[in-house]
Symmetry: C2
Subunit: 498 residues, 2 copies
């Protein structure tokens, strides 16, 4: 006789395996699929989603959860597994299927409209779709919030980063706002007097791929359980045993693609090192998007954009590109380190450096929190956006919706509550890296030699092997200290102002 807990494990394993199918098909759609088969692929994905949905919401899961929660035999990790199962089951069942259907259609429609209307800078045309998405998302989030006993925005946060709270987000973002404008000014002032050489040239994509794979391997990506490919939008996809990252290349410039690859490699290494004994169980999965972003940003911002890493990567970069550049002096270790730490105020979040990035995120958090809590109307978003852009970055987006409030896919796709994960990822990455430096003082000189074993072993022990045993903030506290912006602020100070 299987216990209720064992039944839950069996069901979630089954769901995980089918979700793996969905992930690979999603990767294939972005990377391999010929254009003419998108209708048929959508139908296959919808069918598969339906099968998974049915397996996920069946009422016996509720019964098993009730029994498993009272099971005195469970070990701590099994209890955490039940906690995660309950969270997932609650998310899957909180919203009645009729509302869910409406939401799926509204999100898909609004995302499609956004793709066209953004290019046309047509906010007025897009507004009704965003209003519909927001209305339905608010309704669904309210139902989830009630079931989980959370506030509205806490419920939205929790679907992406379980354990993150509005209160903590507001506290840390307020702190960042208190120093960020001055910091940006100071960094820009300092960098104005520095000489940086742009590496002009034409960089063959084959050489960029070879370099990317070489450095991925050096930092620890396991090609036995993963791949690197190309897609229009870079992402980390696939499955835990088959992690597939993508990038896009431009022949004019190689550092964006390379840093993008190293960012996705951070995501990938987390997935590749999740605990195998919990493969397919919720407790064995990554601990939410804030922690996931911390892993990509630790690899990109803390490691790869450091002077030490460029000292290691410089020879490889010159080996691949010396013959393709017009000014070989631009490929010196020192100049490369400068190139990957340029700071610039800009309109576009995804192009932002690590110093200005929090301003973009804080702006979005403040607006989406107010939108969801009905304190801000969709029609007033452009004015609010413009006001905050001026305050935080000194830029006006008046009339420029394309590079303003229409630039991101998140709201058109109904993903309210995601944005804080980016900056929390950066804050957590800084705090984790500071902790690594504490326990392993030689880590920077190891990185300069291309030796990431110290970084890897700390992350393995403290983050990767833990899966979802702890929720976001509890995990941070358990392996370092309660989350604060201190390490992030010190990191920016040290890298950009010392």
């Amino acid at each position: 006789m299987m216990t209720s807990y064992e039944k839950l494990e069996a069901r979630f394993l089954q769901i995980s395996r089918l979700n793996d199918a969905r992930s690979i098909l999603g990767w294939d759609e972005a990377v391999m699929m010929p254009t003419g088969s998108s209708d048929s692929r959508n139908q296959t994905l919808a069918e598969l989603a339906g099968v998974i949905q049915n397996l996920s919401i069946s009422p016996e899961i509720g019964d098993w959860l009730g029994e498993a929660e009272g099971d005195p035999q469970l070990l701590p990790a099994q209890k955490a597994n039940v906690r995660e199962m309950k969270r997932i089951y609650t998310e899957m069942t909180a919203v009645p299927s009729e509302l869910n259907q409406k939401l799926v259609v509204a999100r898909m429609t609004s995302e499609q409209k956004w793709r066209t209307l953004r290019g046309q800078n047509d906010w007025a045309g897009f507004m009704p779709y965003m209003e519909e998405v927001l209305k339905l998302t608010r309704e669904a989030t309210r139902l989830l919030a009630e079931k989980r006993g959370l506030s509205l925005y806490d419920a939205a946060l929790s679907t992406f980063s379980n354990g993150l709270t509005t209160q903590v987000v507001e506290k840390l973002f307020t702190e960042i706002k208190s120093f960020l404008p001055d910091t940006i000014n100071a960094v820009l002032h300092k960098q104005k007097s520095e000489t940086v050489i742009m590496p002009e040239g034409s960089y063959p994509i084959a050489a960029q791929k070879a370099l990317a794979k070489e450095l991925m391997g050096a930092v620890g990506f396991n090609f036995e359980n993963g791949r690197l490919d190309e897609s229009h939008h870079p992402f980390c996809g696939g499955t835990q045993r088959d992690v597939r990252i993508t990038t896009r290349y431009s022949e004019k410039e190689f550092l964006s693609a390379l840093m993008g690859v190293l960012h996705e490699t951070g995501h990938a290494m987390y997935e590749q090192h999740l605990p195998l004994k919990w493969l397919g169980q919720p407790v064995g999965a990554a601990a939410g998007m804030a922690i996931h972003e911390s892993q990509s940003l630790l690899m990109e911002m803390q490691v790869s954009r450091s002077a030490e890493f460029m000292h290691f990567a410089g020879p490889a970069i010159r080996k691949h590109f010396a013959v393709h550049t017009k000014n070989p002096e631009a490929l010196s270790d020192e100049n490369l380190a400068k190139l990957v730490t340029r700071v610039k105020r800009g309109y576009i979040r995804v192009d932002a450096d690590e110093v200005t990035y929090p301003a973009h995120v804080i702006l979005r958090f403040e607006l989406e929190r107010d939108l969801l809590e009905d304190r801000l109307q969709v029609k007033d978003v452009p004015a609010a956006w413009n006001e905050k852009m001026k305050a935080y970055l000194g830029l006006s987006t008046e009339g420029n919706y394309k590079d303003g409030c229409m630039q991101d896919v998140h709201w058109p796709a109904g993903l309210f509550g995601y944005f804080p994960a980016y900056t929390f990822g950066a804050i957590i990455a800084a705090q984790f890296f500071a902790r690594i430096e504490q326990v392993r003082p030689g880590v920077r000189s190891e990185i300069a030699k291309g030796n990431l074993s110290g970084v890897q072993s700390w992350l393995t022990d403290n983050v990767w092997s833990k899966g979802s045993e702890l929720t976001t903030l509890d995990l941070v506290t358990a392996v370092s200290e309660p989350l604060s912006v201190a390490s992030f602020r010190a990191h920016i100070q040290k890298r950009y102002l010392s």
Copy 2:
């Protein structure tokens, strides 16, 4: 209220969409998947197979079929759809799940053992696995034969080529045996006095791919709904709206890969032109493997290995390869046409030319029929194989199991009843092409100009658009005449002996 027929359509559409997921994952496994994820992929595929199995065997399908068969409103194509649904449902339910499980395990084990033991020429080691597979396959086939009211080998044939019968296979194979040995002798004698130049050189894989895609496009492959990739064993996979063919390249020689691509292109074009209005329904699927092979062999043997096609393809071949060959005269149209029609007695079926190929298939048919019907024991296979190889091709395989009875994956994988499809494909292709020449006398000169519209339009009207409305032999009769070896014999005579 849905009628029973409508319920059947909905269920089979659902199954088809999930089977599409399985096909893409299968393609991915062979073409893209990193080695370390095979365990996890197998589990995902097994889970998906289980979902599809449950949807396919549920008893309500039997009830719906009973009602649909008595529905006077159904159109002829819908009736054919019900016929195919019933065949599939019978195949899926004839074998109890316990036996089916055993069979799956035995086939997988024996195929794995075969991969190792073939290389070691170890027949004695492999024999027990093949005995187990045969025993269980025989049991399963007997259950299917009873349910469908067919003889044992007819039931085996029907799972691959519905409507093909042992009687017709025996009749046509007997006819081929009556002339083939003399024909082979005559062709070899004639070719001995001909001069053929081997195109020595090193042919870059990128150039081979470019040529392959150029010629695929020229014969009609639609790249909006398909791809060309590389894999260890060439195949045509993917889905009807996303047909993915593969090949493997050698830098030493380019014609094998190119002809392989054109062969798979024949399979692919059939899939790409199946009737869209029946997408996802059994009646909209290809009409079995004999017809499928007829499409690949029509494209490869009738079209691509013709002197006319080489007149068209010659300039493209020279454009890509003139700089890579040591003897450019080998790339003349005339020499290329000779190269793709070389005949040679050999041990290996997959390397055989179209003249000797039927001998390989007839041998296998005779043995597998007798094995299935318990008139031949597994232990006696090597002797029987050797005897027939000597009789049909004058070659001894004594002690050489590797290149003898252990060369094919079919029996280790339990695929008894498949082999006749290859030679029936060749016979049907010859008969179809003869009919095309009849109704469109200029077709060969069209091919010489790279214009395949005549071939395509006949195939569209007579084969591709028909899906599975008719079973194998009925389809052939309806669009040409009752199947006979006459056209195949005339084709060999004309191409090789005139």
